[in-house]
């Protein structure tokens, strides 16, 4: 076999074409960064803070102008070393002996970060005055007094609602296991890469699962509460769907991490592919599967309380109702029950998972 030496070359000395592409990308990055900064400075710094306008109008011409100005600045600076883009794409050779904070591009990058931080404070309306205002503190005192004096009269109701939540989370997890178990094999790259058809199935499945996972269970609960009506069933469906997507991903990653040896050995005995999976793959993944599944139940209980807020049933729905009526003593009771359950599930699942290792 030919022995080829592969050395990583810094881009500063690399081929001209590569260098050309990189400098275009670096320029685009600089343009975006500078136009972003100008836009933020103009809208938040000038209009909102300096002019102190209550309502700031937005025109689409504004980002266009900032793009123009940003482009100009970036073009001028691209001839100097003060360019974040050039630093990111390795077009500037860093001086090893010098501190990074004395480099123009790094300082510039930090400046962009600082601008974003300040803009974030402004947009989030962070205000110490509100936090420590008299009316604010009085409100805080009122609600904390009520929360710390929970209404024990509703303890039974709260407990039953909590039991509903735990069961709902359990059945969502239990129903998700077999579905995710089967789907995981089709979502595992190492089992599916062999033919074009199987790889297409893999890619489509991965995409659908990522899509399902990226939509919060809260949103699914809203969708299902319209579909099957408000109540634990819609909450269960939301948790089920999300659990299938998550468990499929976790399971398939576990399959991708197995050792090939037993699979190869089973294939060599002349076993059918189903037998190869059952004997070569499954024994390697059961324990991690169990561990993930219990963790998932734990997460589902926690999520189920939140899902109740949008009509997914259980203790969350109860919480929403009392909160709407501003009955803070009752809410206090519910918060205690929720905290107790979440703590208990967390403790139990951690204990079980520790023993599974």
């Amino acid at each position: 076999m030919e022995n080829t030496m592969i050395t990583k070359q810094p881009l500063a000395e690399a081929m001209p074409v590569k260098r050309y592409q990189a400098s275009i990308k670096a320029w685009c990055m600089d343009v975006l960064l500078w136009s972003y900064s100008f836009l933020v400075l103009y809208k938040l710094g000038y209009q909102s803070w300096w002019l102190d306008l209550r309502h700031v109008d937005f025109f689409w011409s504004e980002p266009l102008y900032s793009l123009l100005v940003g482009g100009l600045v970036a073009s001028v600076l691209s001839y100097t070393k003060a360019s974040v883009g050039k630093a990111c794409y390795g077009l500037i050779a860093f001086d090893e002996g010098r501190s990074l904070f004395r480099t123009a591009s790094v300082r510039l990058g930090l400046l962009f970060l600082l601008l974003t931080f300040i803009a974030g404070l402004q947009i989030s309306q962070v205000s110490m005055r509100e936090f420590f205002s008299d009316s604010g503190l009085a409100g805080a005192q009122r609600i904390f007094t009520a929360l710390l004096n929970p209404n024990f009269a509703i303890f039974e109701d709260a407990l039953f609602a909590a039991v509903e939540t735990v069961y709902m989370a359990f059945i969502a997890t239990a129903l998700a296991i077999p579905v995710a178990f089967v789907l995981a094999f089709f979502a595992a790259r190492n089992l599916m890469k062999n033919s074009a058809l199987s790889f297409a199935i893999y890619a489509v499945l991965r995409f659908l699962m990522n899509l399902t996972r990226s939509i919060e269970p809260l949103v699914w609960a809203i969708i299902f509460s319209v579909w099957v009506g408000i109540g634990p069933f819609s909450g269960m469906l939301a948790l089920f769907l999300h659990s299938v997507a998550s468990l499929t991903k976790l399971y398939s990653e576990q399959i991708e991490a197995i050792q090939d040896g037993p699979v190869e050995a089973m294939t060599a005995t002349g076993a059918h592919p189903i037998q190869v999976i059952w004997y070569g793959v499954v024994p390697q993944v059961v324990l991690p599967y169990l561990s993930y599944t219990i963790y998932r139940w734990d997460i589902n209980v926690r999520m189920a309380t939140v899902i109740g807020l949008v009509g997914g049933g259980g203790i969350g729905t109860m919480l929403m109702q009392y909160q709407g009526l501003a009955r803070w003593n009752d809410v206090g009771m519910l918060v205690i029950v929720i905290a107790a359950i979440v703590w208990l599930m967390d403790y139990a699942s951690a204990k079980i998972r520790a023993h599974l290792k």
Partner: protein, 254 residues
């Protein structure tokens, strides 16, 4: 009688590496053929091309009356079940008992649904225990396979291969992960099944001292080509440097 024949066998991996180049050899029934060569010379690829774990690029593999390289699906699995294989890393199923591991050798002759439920017949269980007795591990039948020592695991792997009732046993560097004394013990078991059960063995080895002790015939590979075929006693100093290169020094294992 010729059991296995390789004709103009070539193997090129998808990344462009040519692992085997025009390999021609045949194996007679009852032989203990040892394949030697440096790492990367194509020994492992050769064994995996025989039972089609790796598809061949061109050429033919004849096993009895069949062309293994042209078989697919059920027919291929049936022929594979008559070729046992053991590996350098033993490749036992983790977390399963020794007996389950040995029974896995009978998967090809067990209906799928039965094997999924672990329903093996009484004869199969007795046979598995009998093969464990042959490799001296009957008392470990219900121990978890990953709790055994390396040498013991390799003996379980041999029992699993025997469970297939094979005509040929392929052994891919079976002792490379073992210490010297365990190596000899495992090689003795291979010799035993070769002589007493009449199973033909094709074995990849590193140590020439082991080759001289156990091989009935030797095949040497270099850069994917056969550079030597003959009796183990005939490998002299000159052949040694041809196979292993100028700088190699022979080390022995006792």
């Amino acid at each position: 009688m010729t059991l296995l024949r390789s004709e103009h066998l070539c193997k090129t991996y998808p990344n462009g590496t040519q692992a085997l180049n025009q390999i021609n050899f045949s194996v007679e029934e009852g032989e203990f053929l040892v394949v030697i060569g440096l790492s990367g010379s194509g020994k492992s690829t050769l064994l995996r091309c025989i039972n089609q774990l790796h598809p061949v690029s061109s050429g033919a593999i004849h096993f009895e009356q069949q062309r293994l390289d042209q078989l697919q699906g059920r027919a291929l699995r049936q022929q594979r079940s008559r070729i046992g294989m053991i590996f350098q890393q033993f490749n036992l199923i983790p977390r399963k008992s020794v007996l389950t591991n040995v029974l896995a050798g009978a998967l090809a002759s067990t209906p799928i649904w039965k094997s999924l439920l672990g329903l093996y017949s009484k004869e199969q269980r007795e046979q598995a225990l009998a093969y464990l007795r042959i490799v001296g591990l009957e008392h470990k039948a219900y121990v978890r396979a990953d709790n055994l020592s390396g040498g013991q695991q390799q003996r379980v792997a041999i029992a699993r291969a025997l469970m297939q009732n094979p005509k040929i046993l392929l052994a891919d560097e079976p002792v490379a992960s073992l210490d010297p004394s365990t190596s000899h013990s495992v090689m003795k078991y291979l010799q035993k099944i070769n002589r007493e059960l009449g199973v033909t063995v094709i074995c990849n080895l590193h140590f020439l001292s082991l080759v001289r002790t156990y091989a009935s015939r030797v095949l040497a590979l270099k850069d994917g080509k056969i550079v030597y075929q003959g009796a183990p006693e005939d490998i002299d100093e000159q052949w040694f440097t041809t196979i292993y290169g100028e700088e190699a020094v022979e080390v022995s294992i006792n």
